[in-house]
Point group: C2
Chain length 303, copies 2
């Protein structure tokens, strides 16, 4: 069973490192060092791809590539997330319950996980379920992914099951002619949808009319959709994983594309530490999201 070797495009797909970066690292650091096929093209052996994935994970956790690449493989495993390190054993009563949920994921017990989540939803109600269960649990899963204690496929399963749960809960809420009309989506390089669903649940609970467009909408298309749906607000979500430096530019571009009377809100882990942007409302917490909605309504009354 000869393990196949990956060409540069396959490595880009599987690691998330761009071709440019892969070639640059090879030139600068001497790693990766792929074989070449008869055509002079790079062929990455599986173990190098594996190491690249590990490096990428640690980079997302805040480490710097130069150090990581210089470090031998064995030691790499010893690097752990800064975030995880910074939070040693603050196991509140609720924290341990979250750990139980996390454990179900790691045991690949989808049914058990779904049942436990359903129970919590019934007990807490949708709003608190989102704020006190889904959000922190998502955070914990992200942490665990960074420090390697949760596999990618486990994270995928968690996301998939949670998406279902949330969508089901949202479907159970009343709908119809409500206001404001909020268009929910994300930009092309942002595939994470959980944040959008969480905020949709909150907005829907507060009586807003949500128009969920899914993720990855081109900017010009968002503008068109907002007009076509006569949206009052466009709400975008950026996950922590989204490259922060790109966000201000994107929001400014979108602000120019949108009609001025349409509000632009941006939330999610990616906008936590962002400088204010003209014409854009940054939602740094669930509370601020809800109060943004309240403020919008107040602002409508005098007009």
């Amino acid at each position: 069973m000869n393990i196949p070797s990956f060409n540069i495009a396959a490595v880009e797909r599987d690691t998330g490192l761009s071709k440019d970066v892969l070639r640059m690292w090879e030139r600068r650091y001497g790693f990766p060092q792929p074989d070449r096929d008869s055509n002079g093209e790079r062929c990455y052996p599986a173990d190098q791809v594996e190491r690249l994935r590990l490096i990428k994970r640690l980079m997302d956790a805040g480490h710097r590539p130069g150090k990581l690449i210089a470090t031998p493989v064995e030691e790499l495993a010893g690097f752990v997330s800064r975030r995880a390190k910074a939070r040693p054993g603050n196991e509140s009563s609720d924290g341990s319950e979250l750990s139980e949920l996390l454990a179900l994921i790691k045991q690949h017990d989808s049914n058990g996980f779904q049942q436990a989540m359903q129970q919590r939803l019934a007990r807490q109600g949708l709003q608190r379920f989102v704020q006190d269960t889904i959000a922190p649990l998502t955070f914990r899963v992200g942490e665990a992914w960074e420090d390697g204690s949760v596999e990618v496929f486990e994270e995928h399963l968690f996301t998939e099951l949670t998406k279902r749960l949330l969508r089901q809960a949202i479907a159970g809420l009343p709908s119809g002619q409500r206001s404001p009309r909020i268009l929910l989506t994300s930009v092309p390089d942002e595939p994470h949808v959980l944040g959008l669903l969480m905020v949709e649940a909150l907005f829907a609970l507060e009586g807003a009319e949500c128009i969920p467009l899914g993720t990855q909408m081109p900017l010009l298309e968002i503008g068109r959709a907002a007009s076509a749906h006569r949206a009052n607000v466009v709400a975008l979500s950026f996950s922590v994983a989204f490259p922060q430096r790109q966000i201000p530019g994107l929001l400014q571009q979108l602000r120019m594309v949108l009609a001025p009377e349409i509000e632009l809100w941006a939330g999610g882990g990616g906008v936590q530490r962002l400088a204010p942007i003209e014409g854009v409302l940054l939602l740094t917490s669930f509370e601020s999201a809800v109060s943004a909605l309240t403020d919008w309504r107040l602002a409508q009354v005098p007009a």
Copy 2:
């Protein structure tokens, strides 16, 4: 309101054309012809981005870039999908009902669409709903997207609402220890999830235990997930939009990664016209998917 200009990365995001291709076209065909900033870097004006998006759409519909780029913008609008052309007015009684659903999408009437779909689901039952409503409707939407009569954001909304409906329906089915255990996912460049949900509905109806991992799983990760979940079958979905030539290679790679006793099934619009692949079962229709399940069960009995 100065319309912003896009750098090459933004254009890649918004059009789906790689940087390499954008630069190549500029060199070969003289289009696009972006301005340059003080740094010598490309700045694409919005109208060129728009034209590129149109060209990309027509390419996906089967046209060739050389012709398209040579054609003036006004005439481009006249190009229509080959598929759409080939099927002139076969409006069966069911076809017109589908058209009504499509019309609701184009009117951006989410609530009306959801209600109409719910009704059809109740009337047809899940299996026929998937086969006779969702599948053909998805096809029609794809067609309409190709010939430009449906906007991207309309297609997104359709997808989002349909996903919700299907997931809700699936959630209503019994679950628990059933067999076979089927792991459902797609490869990293395949983000389309509707096909997976449709087949999940059918498999779940037939009593299989489905493990939905969402889309875009790296190959090595699929292998790990299959072992961890003790899956009997790994089922992949490829949409019509997926580059066909890449599929055989991907499947062969994955076949090598998977333990031999785990079956590998591939379905979706992308595998319709594919040559058989050793160790991979190609599901070219919903019927073949169901019979694959039956066959698997038969094969288990003697052992």
